[in-house]
Structures are given as structure tokens and as C-alpha cells.
């Protein structure tokens, strides 16, 4: 169904945006390097592909006049998610341009800021690209070349967002969120709100639909505890027999 496709694509875009932000925060610090610039470039490209795909899908869904009201409300909610992701991405791209220009990698007298971060960001980039290991194949002047590309990409993204606003009439303030305050304390969040709440450690009461989910997982955890105790009992019996024998 169109909705599920949308949700998975939005999930992916969300993941890439989060990873991109982590990478941009590492720019200019001691964990900066040529690899980081390449990771930024690749993540950005992936984000753009996802953005274009999402946009075409959502615009086609929203332009369809024959959908029901709940469906339309749901698509508007997804639209707000998409546009917020894009705003975040645009800001991060502009900032990475500025910081990238201020901290070129190849100038030997220019020092990176000693922030205390020394590890590499390979794992974050791998998460963004959904691969196991990152391959690095760029040449040494990636920072200058990349910055020019980045400028064009930023203009493209800004244009896309303006087009989006003009074409699709969605009032973002009218959308009602499905998550209540403190919802992030339950793990396994995804776009669809059918999360299996594990253990809610927050003070708020979980909603009814999450109550059902937590009942299932409650049974699972009770079984796990039971198995654990059985194993302990078996170990105790064996130990007693060993002591008896010696």
C-alpha cells in the first residue's frame, strides 16, 4: 500500500538526516579528515535521492482528490514529517558548507579544533548508507571540489522546498501528532505508530494501543525469566550432586 511505502521511505530519510547531523557536528574537530568529507558527500547524495523519491510519492498521494478524510490527515502528517526532515537537512547542508570552507583539510598550518573526539565516524556513515563497511575512493582535493558541488546542491534543495510549498496545500499547524509527551522513552519507534512498547520507564501512562503490544512482550519477558530460573535450579542440583559425590 502506498502508505507503508511512504512510511519506510520516511524512516530511511529520517535515519539519513540524523546520521548527517552527527557527521556535520564532527566537521572542523579532530575527528575531521578526508574520509569524513567523503562520508558527508555520500550521505548527502543518498539523502537527496531519498528526498526526491519521497517527494514524488507524497505529492502524487496528496494530489489524489479521491482519498478519504482520515487518509488525507495521515498523508498530511507524513508531509509534515517530510518537510521538517528537509528543513533540518537544508540547515545542516548550509552549515557544513560554512564550516567546510573555514576548515580545509589540506592546509598544513591550519589546525583542527581539539575537541576531544578522536574516533572516526565510519560507523555512523555506514549506518546512514545501510552498508556494512564504507569504501573510500576519493582523491585528495575532495574538500574544494565537494564544496562547489555542495553549493549547487543547496540551491537545488531550496528550490525543491519552495516548489513543494507552492504545489501542495498543507497547513502544517493543523496536523495533530500521534505521539504523546515522553513517547521517546519507549524503544523501537518507527513512523507507523504500532510500536511494541518494551518497558516504559516514564511517568506517563502508555496509550491503549501500546498497552496491547506491551502485554505480548510482557509475556515474552516472563517466559525468559522463568527459563532463567529453571537453568539456575538445574545448575544448583548439579552442583549439589557434585559436592555429594566428592
Amino acid at each position: 500500500m502506498g502508505k507503508d511505502e511512504c512510511k519506510t521511505m520516511l524512516d530511511a530519510l529520517n535515519k539519513v538526516t540524523a546520521c548527517y547531523r552527527h557527521l556535520v557536528i564532527a566537521l572542523g574537530s579532530t575527528s575531521d579528515s578526508q574520509n569524513l568529507r567523503e562520508e558527508l558527500k555520500k550521505t548527502r547524495k543518498k539523502a537527496q535521492e531519498l528526498a526526491v523519491a519521497n517527494r514524488t510519492k507524497l505529492t502524487s498521494l496528496l494530489k489524489d482528490k479521491s482519498i478519504s478524510k482520515e487518509d488525507r490527515a495521515e498523508y498530511e502528517r507524513l508531509w509534515v514529517l517530510f518537510s521538517s526532515s528537509m528543513e533540518l537537512l537544508e540547515v545542516d547542508m548550509k552549515r557544513s558548507l560554512e564550516i567546510g570552507q573555514d576548515f580545509p583539510t589540506k592546509v598544513p598550518t591550519r589546525h583542527f579544533i581539539q575537541t576531544g573526539m578522536t574516533g572516526s565516524t565510519t560507523t555512523v556513515a555506514a549506518r546512514a548508507m545501510s552498508v556494512q563497511n564504507m569504501k573510500y575512493e576519493a582523491d585528495s582535493n575532495i574538500d574544494t571540489v565537494d564544496l562547489r558541488d555542495l553549493q549547487t546542491e543547496i540551491t537545488q534543495v531550496s528550490q525543491m522546498m519552495e516548489e513543494m510549498e507552492m504545489k501542495v496545500q498543507v497547513a502544517p499547524w493543523a496536523v495533530e501528532a500521534k505521539q504523546e509527551a515522553g513517547a521517546e522513552l519507549k524503544s523501537n519507534m518507527s513512523v507507523g505508530n504500532s510500536s511494541v512498547g518494551v518497558i516504559s520507564i516514564c511517568e506517563e501512562e502508555p496509550k491503549e494501543e501500546e498497552g496491547g503490544g506491551s502485554r505480548d512482550s510482557g509475556i515474552a519477558s516472563v517466559c525468559a525469566v522463568f527459563v532463567f530460573f529453571v537453568i539456575i535450579a538445574v545448575a544448583g542440583v548439579l552442583g549439589y550432586l557434585v559436592v555429594n559425590m566428592s
Partner: protein, 477 residues
């Protein structure tokens, strides 16, 4: 026009007064090679690039060729702006000249003129912190969280999703990097959203339409206007600085105990402690004024008349002396000045009949020239027609009646009766409670009604005594 173009694009509308940021950034980059870093040990992880306050201040002193105190002040500003953050007492943004530990902030979190700390970013940060701390946010953070949940509600799904994703992406990094990242983010948000009762160095004024960093092109017209301005400035009459400074010194010595910035206002400053005893004790209609207020009345006649409670007291004194007409005229002139345009002609007529006409019941004694000017002006009355007469009357009162008032038993009695409240001493818990129990105060309509009833009573009391009616009453008896 779309929502995005209607919303203020922060690149077009510039925030003022941040020219220093570019220079500070250059200095921060230079500092990297100058200051030596060491390592910080936390349980099992070691995190490099830790610097002591002493080293930073020594480097600044060396580089800028200044004294240690100045370098310390400069260092404190670097910490307050967020270029360096303290590791030990993370809420107190000062640079101490000892072995306290600091670390540099990553360029993404540096203060910039263009990028303002967005509320949605703060909401994402609070959600992440909620996950990390398992629901135990600090009270001010919890208050912000609830507030943001309410008004960013349409984006809340996005915020929760992004927060969980960022949290998971953060877990992909190594342990020391994770710790550093947490410290960095926390430091950034302490600078941009300071906790309660702390001051933020990032307070800046309203947004401007021109970029303060760009150079302005000076055209021919600008030079012409500059010339005009300087020519006019030369022709203005100036006061000798010895005279003006002397006046300033006199003003300061008189008023310095009454300024709530310089001296603590008793019982406590309501803006600090959220307790409004100070305001209730200094209201318009209060029976017994405070000592500070009574002392203020003795500074000048202007102070006495500006404070309405003081004016009442002065009027009591004048009633005893039977010389109330100057005061009444002054008040009537004030009413004409501040009153409505429609009532001006009628007010001017009553004033003329009561005070200025020859043989009037409350005739005031002003010199002939002023009287002539005023009467002529009253043919075409405007707001300031009584200005000359009012000033004359004011000077009469100042030179004569005011000093008699200060020596009179009325004033001495009120000085003795005046209250001197005890200063409050609230503990932090009581302060929190005060903040939550703030009362809205008396409704202005009630105050206005009280004022009107007072005015009506005063009007009846001061109506000129009808001599003929009195005489006929006595005759009948």
C-alpha cells in the same frame, strides 16, 4: 509568497552586535597550537584534549599582552559565549585561573550570527536527554519540554523520530566520543537556553534589516548629510563639563540609595523574588507610606508633586495653612494639559472663572505680565495656554511653601509614622514556591474606580463655599 518566505529568514534579518564572532573564531584556531592539552580519565575511558584554566589565561595574556585580570575576563567571555566549556561545574560559565578543566567546543556548536538555536532542535535535544536520563529531566528542562510539546505539537512525531534516530546513530561511535558529544551538546544548550536564575551572554537585541558585518558604501548624499549634521552641532550652545558633571554627581549622591540597581529595595525586589510586598506597600492610596518614599519627597517639589501620595500630604498641609489655591490651580492646569481635547474649552472657562478673573473665589497671585498673557490666550484655549502661569505658580510654591512644608509638623509626623520594612530572606525552595504562586494583582478598573471616588470627594470638599447660603443659614437660626 509561501510560509517559508513570510517567516523571517535569518540570513536576511540580522541579529545585531556580533561583530566580535569572526575575530574570536580566528583566535580560537590560533589557540589550538598554543595551549597544551592533557587527558581526562573517567572510570575506564580516557578522553584527550583537556586544558586547564591556568594555561588558557597564560596564553591569552601572552598573546594579547594584557594583565591577568583582563585575560581572565576575556576567558570568562569565551566560556560564556560557548567557545570553551567547563568540565567540572558545567552550569557555571566562568573561567577560573586555576587547575579547573575545560575543553574546546566543536565548530558546529560555536555561536554564529546566522544560525539561531532553533526550538525544534532544542526539542530534539530534550527528547534525547529524556531517553538518556530515563525520564528524569531537570525541572527547568521539564518545563521547557512541556511547553514545547504544547506548541510544537504538529511536529512532535518528527521530533520523537529524529531524537530516537540521533540517539541510535550516536551509539555507533566509540565510548569516549560518545561522552564528548554528550558534553558538547549539553554545553551548547546551557549557553543557548540557560537554566533558571542564570544570565546568558547570548542575550542580544532585536533583529535588524542590515547586515552589521558588511561595509556600508558611503555616497555623496551621505557626505552632504554628514556636513549638515556637523555644522549644526558646532552651532549648538554647550554646557561646561565641570558644570554638567557637578550636577550629575549631585544627582547621583541624592538618588543612589533609591535606585534598585545600586541599593537593595526593601523588603525585596519583586522581579527577583516574585513577592510583590514592595508594590503593595507603595501603592497610590496607601495609609502609611514607606520611609524611602517619604525621604524622596524631600528631594524637590517636583518629586513631591509627581508622587500622588505626596501630593495628598502636601494638600493636607496647605489646607491647614489656608493657602491651597496655588496647588489647586497647578492641578487644574495639569488636568487641562493631559485632558481630552473636547473638554478643553469648558475646563479653560472654569479655570478662568475660579482662579484668574478679578474677584474670583480662589484668585492666584501672579505678576501682571503673565496674567495678561494668560487671559489673552484663554480667548483661543489650547493645551498649553496656562503653561506660563503654571510655571510661575510652581516656582512660588517651590521657593516658599515647599520649605515650610518640610519644616512643618505634618511632614515630621508622617516621617515618624513611615514604615521601614524588614528585608526578606528567601531560601531557594521558597523562591520556587513564590514563582509558582504569583498573583495577578489588583485589577486596574478597581484602581481607577477608587481614583474617581477620591476625586469626587475632593471636588465636593474643595467647592468654594457659597457665602450667601452660609449667611442665610445663620440668619434663619
Amino acid at each position: 509568497m509561501t510560509i517559508r518566505t513570510a517567516r523571517p529568514d535569518r540570513v536576511q534579518h540580522f541579529r545585531p552586535r556580533m561583530h566580535c564572532l569572526k575575530k574570536l573564531e580566528a583566535m580560537m584556531v590560533e589557540m589550538q597550537s598554543g595551549v597544551k592539552g592533557s587527558e581526562q580519565k573517567l572510570n575506564v575511558t580516557t578522553i584527550p584534549h583537556v586544558i586547564t584554566g591556568k594555561d588558557i589565561i597564560a596564553w591569552i595574556t601572552n598573546k594579547m599582552k594584557s594583565t591577568t585580570e583582563e585575560s581572565q575576563a576575556f576567558g570568562t567571555m569565551l566560556v560564556a559565549y560557548g567557545y570553551i566549556y567547563p568540565l567540572e561545574n558545567h552550569k557555571k560559565l566562568v573561567m577560573c585561573n586555576d587547575t579547573s578543566l575545560y575543553r574546546f567546543q566543536t565548530p558546529y556548536f560555536w555561536p554564529t550570527q546566522k544560525w539561531v538555536a532553533e526550538d525544534s532542535d532544542y526539542a530534539i535535544y530534550l527528547a534525547k536527554r529524556n531517553i538518556r536520563k530515563k525520564g528524569m529531566l531537570e525541572p527547568y528542562e521539564q518545563a521547557h519540554y512541556n511547553h514545547l510539546h504544547e506548541w510544537l505539537n504538529h511536529k512532535w512525531d518528527f521530533i520523537v523520530m529524529q531524537a530516537t534516530e540521533q540517539y541510535k546513530a550516536g551509539k555507533e561511535r566509540k565510548k569516549p566520543d560518545r561522552v564528548v558529544f554528550d558534553c558538547q551538546e549539553r554545553a551548547y544548550w546551557i549557553v543557548n537556553k540557560p537554566p533558571r536564575h542564570t544570565h546568558s551572554a547570548m542575550d542580544c537585541g532585536p533583529e535588524r534589516l542590515i547586515d552589521p558585518n558588511s561595509d556600508e558604501k558611503i555616497t555623496f548624499d551621505t557626505y552632504r548629510r554628514m556636513n549638515l549634521f556637523y555644522q549644526q552641532a558646532i552651532m549648538r550652545s554647550k554646557v561646561k563639563s565641570s558644570v554638567s558633571l557637578g550636577a550629575l554627581v549631585k544627582y547621583i549622591t541624592t538618588y543612589k540609595n533609591h535606585d534598585p540597581f545600586l541599593a537593595p529595595c526593601l523588603p525585596s525586589n519583586p522581579w527577583h523574588t516574585d513577592n510583590d510586598t514592595y508594590w503593595t506597600m507603595n501603592m497610590r492610596q496607601v495609609e502609611v507610606p514607606t520611609k524611602m518614599r517619604v525621604e524622596r519627597w524631600s528631594f524637590s517639589l517636583f518629586e513631591l508633586l509627581s508622587d500622588l501620595r505626596g501630593r495628598d500630604d502636601f494638600k493636607i498641609f496647605l489646607k491647614k495653612e489656608f493657602s491651597g489655591e496655588n496647588m489647586a490651580f497647578w492641578e487644574a492646569a495639569e488636568e487641562l494639559k493631559w485632558g481630552t481635547a473636547s473638554s478643553m474649552t469648558s475646563k479653560a472657562e472654569t479655570i478662568f472663572k475660579t482662579f484668574l478673573a478679578p474677584g474670583a473665589p480662589r484668585w492666584i497671585n501672579i505678576d501682571g505680565r503673565t496674567m495678561g498673557l494668560t487671559v489673552k490666550g484663554l480667548d483661543h484655549p489650547h493645551r498649553y495656554v496656562l503653561e506660563a502661569a503654571q510655571t510661575h505658580v510652581f516656582l512660588l510654591m517651590k521657593k516658599d511653601t515647599f520649605f515650610r512644608y518640610l519644616k512643618s509638623p505634618v511632614y515630621k509626623e508622617i516621617q515618624k509614622k513611615a514604615l521601614n520594612p524588614e528585608p526578606h530572606n528567601f531560601s531557594p525552595a521558597q523562591l520556587e514556591q513564590n514563582a509558582q504562586n504569583r498573583s495577578p494583582g489588583i485589577h486596574p478598573i478597581i484602581l481607577w474606580q477608587q481614583d474617581e471616588s477620591e476625586k469626587a470627594k475632593a471636588a465636593i470638599a474643595s467647592a468654594p463655599v457659597d457665602v450667601k447660603a452660609m449667611m442665610s443659614k445663620i440668619d434663619r437660626k
